[in-house]
């Protein structure tokens, strides 16, 4: 119990880092400020482990501890506290956020070497970690929302970190604006929860969720999903994530792969009683998730930017997680979130290491054969590649397999779950293929950078390769936290206190084995196809996939036209309304009224000023005649 109270220190460490780095921004120079930030993250990680062991020693039914905290807002019957909710779900999140976060902080010291605004970068990074920890530990929806907005702000600040580049500034804006759509859903969901349940405290809201009508529960779940879709780049709202790659690569790894974008999954798993009582919402989540996974995977097929491929891959993997949430396999979603954090962070850091060694080149068409020049990066990248492709026994295999198996088994009455399984399986094949394409274009094949680069590519410094190796080990063995065998389902049993839902499991060992085998075979087919096509490298800079897909490939490459479609449906009407308001309404009606009043008075004045002749005798005549008229009126009326 006492160990659990230390949970306050988990967000406290990065907050202290922010304060120190901000106050000392004039004196702290590279690399000291980076080390301070990294130490704070390491401290938060140690605290997380302590809290984990403290919580683990409690019996299962006592594992949801609410730390009250001081009062924040009190208005009438409403009250919100700075309270934390420490339970297996939040502690799981905290563990990987601080763990992966600390590794990425360390990597950043090497990656941001020699950059302007070095200290500011680490201030933002620590601020992000603080916000993210508030998000996952927040004991009520309002505090969760505070963290939610905080990570959004840090995402904006870090995506546009190189704001001298107009594209980076634009990408930050796009991320921020797109996320507002989701935030709007979050706020409406909070209003709805408060008006029906009278509280925003997570534990009491969730325990009284069964009292809600089906319609209200569905509405709350769908609004929360809108919030999650914005943050986690689902459905048409994914458009901001590929552009967010304008930020420094560690930012992409930390925020746009491992932690922030999974906040939506966390939110829905945290609020799963609403989904349970509004099952229609689960259908939406599962369908949108599956199709986002598929669409993003197809876009990744033809992209040439090493980071954008990974961005689309992230969207695709997030789609898997939402598919799991939609069918009710919450632990599978969290499991995949954790393993994905390992291997996707590793992929991004590997991509950053490649760019670091290649004069910041991001175009895979001018890479190739790099495994000889950066062996550690290549080796770790390939571990992550096998993990995301779902090859036994890498981490991604276990989690993806659990999601696909759960989708097959169905549950929660999700319609057409066999079809969703099929979409997921095809996506697994595509995933294996595009990742193989990336690995071969970068690390194998002909050396296409010879004419472009001034020096040979080089391996990154130890500061960057140590995190790569650490994440490589996790990507290899991370599946061990939840193996599909009685006695080894550690994560499922651990999460039971927070998500007391019966996990969706295959009916027999045989069924599970067949499903896993199919998944692995699809992965292997994808890999073999990729190797076969790309083994000889690119000739004349032409990509066989792009050539073979033809018009379809160009359609994929344009992101299925989603960006222009959104411009057409949102931007165009917005502009049209703006034009109407600007010209006819503002310049015509409003300015017309103002100018019209002024013109009337100007005309009157122009007529009346003639009266003022400036001749004294004229005024005297006026006075006299006026006096005479008054006199005559008195005479006629006969009184004075």
């Amino acid at each position: 119990m006492d160990a659990v109270r230390l949970a306050w220190l988990i967000p406290g460490f990065p907050l202290a880092g922010v304060v120190i780095l901000y106050l000392g921004r004039r004196f702290l120079k590279e690399p000291l400020s980076g080390w301070i930030a990294t130490l704070m993250m390491a401290g938060a990680f140690v605290m997380s482990v302590v809290v984990y062991s403290g919580l683990h020693s409690l019996p299962d039914e006592n594992r949801q501890v609410a730390l009250k905290g001081v009062e924040w807002i009190r208005a009438g019957g409403f009250s919100a506290r700075f309270g934390l909710l420490v339970d297996p779900l939040s502690v799981t999140m905290v563990l990987f956020v601080t763990g992966v976060g600390a590794l990425i902080h360390m990597y950043s010291i090497g990656y941001m070497h020699g950059q302007e605004r070095f200290t500011r970068f680490f201030t933002y990074l620590n601020l992000f970690a603080f916000s993210m920890l508030v998000l996952v530990l927040g004991g009520n929806y309002l505090l969760l929302f505070l963290g939610w907005e905080g990570v959004g702000l840090c995402s904006y600040l870090l995506v546009s970190f190189w704001f001298e580049r107009p594209s980076a500034a634009r990408a930050g804006k796009k991320a921020f604006v797109t996320n507002r759509v989701g935030d709007f859903g979050f706020m409406l969901a909070m209003f709805l929860i408060f008006s029906h349940l009278g509280t925003l405290d997570i534990l009491s809201a969730l325990s009284s969720a069964p009292q809600l009508g089906r319609g209200t529960a569905t509405a709350v779940a769908l609004l929360l999903y809108l919030a999650a879709a914005g943050k986690s780049a689902q459905g048409p709202l994914f458009i901001w994530l590929p552009d967010a790659m304008e930020g420094p690569t560690p930012v992409s790894a930390l925020i746009h792969a491992a932690t922030m974008v999974t906040a939506g999954v966390y939110l829905l798993v945290r609020s799963h009683p609403f989904l349970e009582h509004g099952p229609a919402a689960g259908d939406v989540v599962a369908w949108v998730g599956a199709f986002t996974a598929f669409v993003a995977a197809t876009i990744a097929l033809t992209n040439f930017d090493i980071k954008r491929v990974l961005a689309y891959s992230t969207i695709s993997q997030l789609g898997y997680m939402f598919l799991a949430v939609g069918v009710g396999a919450y632990t599978a979603a969290i499991f995949h979130m954790v393993t994905h954090a390992f291997f996707k962070a590793l992929l991004f850091l590997g991509a950053g290491s490649v760019m670091h060694g290649m004069e910041d080149n991001q175009d895979m068409r001018v890479m190739g054969g790099l495994r000889k020049f950066m062996p550690i990066t290549a080796l770790t990248f390939m571990v992550a590649w096998l993990a995301i492709s779902g090859i036994v026994p890498f981490a991604g295999f276990w989690s993806k397999d659990e999601i696909l198996a759960a989708t097959w088994v169905g549950g929660a009455g999700v319609s057409a779950h066999y079809f969703l399984w099929f979409v997921g399986a095809v996506t697994a094949l595509l995933t294996a293929f595009y990742m193989t394409r990336q690995v071969w274009m970068v690390f194998y094949g002909n050396e296409r950078w010879r004419e472009k680069l001034h020096h040979d590519p080089h391996e990154s410094p130890k500061l960057m390769t140590i995190p790569l190796v650490a994440l490589g080990v996790l990507s290899f063995a991370g599946g061990a936290i939840n193996l599909p065998k009685e006695g080894f389902k550690n994560l499922t049993e651990w999460l039971h206190a927070a998500v007391p839902v019966k996990p969706l499991e295959v009916h027999s060992f045989g069924q599970g084995f067949v499903l896993s085998t199919i998944a692995v075979i699809l992965g292997v087919i994808g890999i073999l196809a990729g190797v076969r096509i790309y083994n000889r490298g690119l000739r004349h800079g032409e990509d066989p996939t792009v050539v073979r897909l033809g018009a379809l490939g160009r359609f994929f490459d344009r992101g299925w036209g989603i960006d222009p479609a959104i411009s057409w449906f949102v931007d165009r009407p917005g502009r049209a309304i703006g034009d109407v308001l600007a010209r006819p309404v503002d310049q015509g009606l409003i300015d017309g009224a103002v100018n019209g009043v002024a013109a009337v008075f100007a005309g009157l004045a122009r007529a009346l000023r003639k009266v003022q002749t400036g001749f004294v005798r004229n005024y005297a005549l006026t006075l006299l005649s006026g006096a005479t008229v008054v006199l005559f009126i008195f005479l006629i009326r006969g009184t004075v």
Partner: protein, 102 residues
Amino acid sequence: MTNVPGAWYLTVAAVIFCIGAVGLLVRRNALVMFMCVELMLNAVNLTFVTFARMLDDIGGQVFVFFTLVVAAAEVVIGLALIVSIFRRRQGATADDISLLRG
């Protein structure tokens, strides 16, 4: 001394007032216009005094003193204005000074 009727005084006053008013309107010389104003003021004074006598009310005579004081002050300011105008331009008439024309 024969008793002159009050109406005669009033008639004289009216005539003087009209002379003053017409003079003010038709003459352009600032000094003459000024004298016309004095004529009008004194016509009014005469009327006051006449009515004070006819109605046996001292109030009319008191009013005359006020008029005289105000007229004296007005003469001071008016003559000062006229002098300063004549310093600037030779033989200017009242109509030339029309800067306040709208």
